[in-house]
Point group: C2
Chain length 364, copies 2
């Protein structure tokens, strides 16, 4: 990320009263703190000890069962519990990109994945190009919020190449249907599948997972050992008990409804207050990908937004070449309440008006 | 690790009644489960949200203050909270070994570090040789349990090269003095310093840290972002409260006394039951490094030990070239109770007797 952008955003977080569209965080109000604390109360001392790198068996069984429900042939032993989806991506990169390779990524792509590919020395190309590894979020893309169209999905599965499937938002689609079959179900031997509880339970527990083709399973465990020996076993143990005792699917229904209402509220507010901006209605997830006809400088817009008490994630950090143009921004609807969204959109509208006025002046 | 060894050890853990010297784990009986659960009860919902990569400020302040007490010029902002010491080592390797380099390691070295250096393509050499990076555990070496002799310490600080200081056991020295000044205090701009709460509080929380020379600080945060975005903020928050409310230094006094008694018990039992074996009295830590005059095959010894209901870590995994000879083993005194240690030593003695008998027979 641009150092200036990080600096601006750190300042923003430290300032009270800011209503931010940045970060793409889940809503803290939904975190089941009391239930997790109760689960810790029942946890046994062995959960504080060292554990095997693949993670606790009960949790791995639960993850495998959910993937089987969606048609993927996965056993508990195939699951590697990781420190969030990000570590699953890191390990997947270590397993598949030993040398500089071509990696295909969506036009607007999760920045944490871009960072990993770049650090591995990969050459980044567009989704429709030939590549050694295709990174995809077929169920719900971040930041676009769209589901991979059927034709693109078929094209992807038709390649012989490896696929890194990031399923982070799969259970947060707004259509209330069961999540679509993962690519893993269609190509078990070519797909590295990444999941997480960060979006649906809470990020602070750092529970994610990686399922690799069977031939890479042991290498995955060794990579996890090298990285940090094992996941947080206390957090895993808490989550195991939580999942035994609580209605996780019921929780998902209520989260989908909440975030879907959030998306509607943000789209409505944007149409009212910044009618010139463009976006597509998301099919799930936490955010909109917003463009404008005007060619704004994203750091200038961010500075103006902060001056008015709001913030967003600039488009460049989602692009494989870091391009700042055309202007785009990710606006998350996941953290703000509906009335806050209205106010934040007004603030953003004021920021754009300020910039328009300056532009008119300087060209006058 | 040798696949056969891992297989044998996994089977051993699954079998009840085994009294194992393997693993080098802290004693689970010392884990402050109730106090940690109480701390979670007081934790706020923000501890479950995403956080900055460097970790929670209160915890970083505490770590920096303890390092300052030992003479190192460290501020909270210099500390990167990691997922245990292992991740701190991994990030340190990423920051210092971009290309194949020479790394100097002790003759018997922590295997998790060896794995990282090898995966980075480093050439491994002995401690006394010139190298680009020197890995050292100056306060207490794992597995040897010794403190780095003054002359070796001076030699190390006299080189111009980078030092990776693994301080995991520094607070578990048996002399009841404050821990020695870290190398970090003597060479702030050349030492990457690694610490952890895994040995003194519990491993399951996965709390470790890395302090780098200031010029590498931002790169360290970026590496943490790539690796897993951030540490487990729930665990960090629990530990922050625990450290505010509990007597951590009093805890250390009791742990040192416990592990020192464990070391005495193991040494006594070995002298009684396997008098031919050699070891030096450890100055701290969890283990003895034991050799024998006889040239045993370590996998055979391990198999015989398991047949008698005990286990150990074979010496080869601690050696930079993986050499199986001369025969050596790490025996941990940290998990077994004093009477169990006696029994486990008897079992190990029986294993050696079996092997002697077989050898006599086959040479007859």
């Amino acid at each position: 990320m641009d150092q200036r952008v990080e600096e601006l955003q750190r300042r923003c977080v430290a300032r009270p009263g800011v209503l931010s569209f940045a970060g793409g965080l889940p809503a803290a109000a939904t975190f089941p703190l009391a239930a997790l604390a109760a689960a810790l109360g029942e946890t046994e001392r062995d959960a504080l000890q060292y554990d095997w790198p693949e993670g606790r068996e009960g949790l791995r069984r639960w993850i495998a069962a959910r993937l089987r429900q969606r048609g993927a042939d996965v056993a508990a032993d195939d699951v590697l519990v990781t420190s969030g989806a990000q570590q699953a991506l890191d390990i997947a990169v270590q397993l598949t990109l030993p040398e500089r390779r071509r990696v295909a990524v969506p036009e607007a792509c999760y920045p944490g994945a871009l960072e990993l590919f770049s650090a591995a020395g990969a050459e980044l190309v567009g989704t429709a190009e030939e590549a050694d590894l295709h990174y995809a979020m077929p169920a719900v893309e971040n930041p676009m919020g769209r589901t991979l169209p059927r034709a693109e999905r078929a094209w992807l599965l038709g390649r012989g190449s490896l696929i890194l499937e990031d399923d982070a938002y799969a259970e947060l689609r707004f259509d209330d249907e069961p999540p679509p079959a993962p690519l893993l179900a269609a190509a078990r031997d070519r797909v590295l599948h990444v999941g997480t509880l960060s979006k649906t339970l809470c990020p602070g527990l750092r529970i994610g997972w990686l399922v690799t083709p069977p031939r890479l399973r042991d290498a995955g465990r060794r990579a996890k050992l090298r990285a940090d020996l094992q996941g947080n076993s206390l957090a895993q143990s808490i989550v195991e008990r939580y999942l035994e005792q609580e209605d996780y699917d019921g929780r998902l229904v209520s989260l989908r409804s909440r975030y879907s209402r959030g998306a509607d509220a943000l789209m409505g507010a944007l149409r009212r207050h910044i009618p010139e901006c463009n976006f597509e209605a998301p099919e799930g997830g936490f955010s909109l990908w917003v463009t404008t006809p005007e060619a704004w400088d994203e750091v200038e817009v961010l500075r103006a937004a902060l001056a008015h008490g709001t913030s967003f994630d600039p488009g460049s950090s989602f692009r494989r070449d870091g391009a700042k143009r055309p202007f785009a921004m990710r606006l998350a609807f996941s953290t703000l309440a509906v009335d806050e969204m209205e106010e934040a959109a007004k603030r953003l509208a004021r920021a754009f008006r300020d910039l328009s006025r300056q532009r008119t002046k300087s060209s006058a």
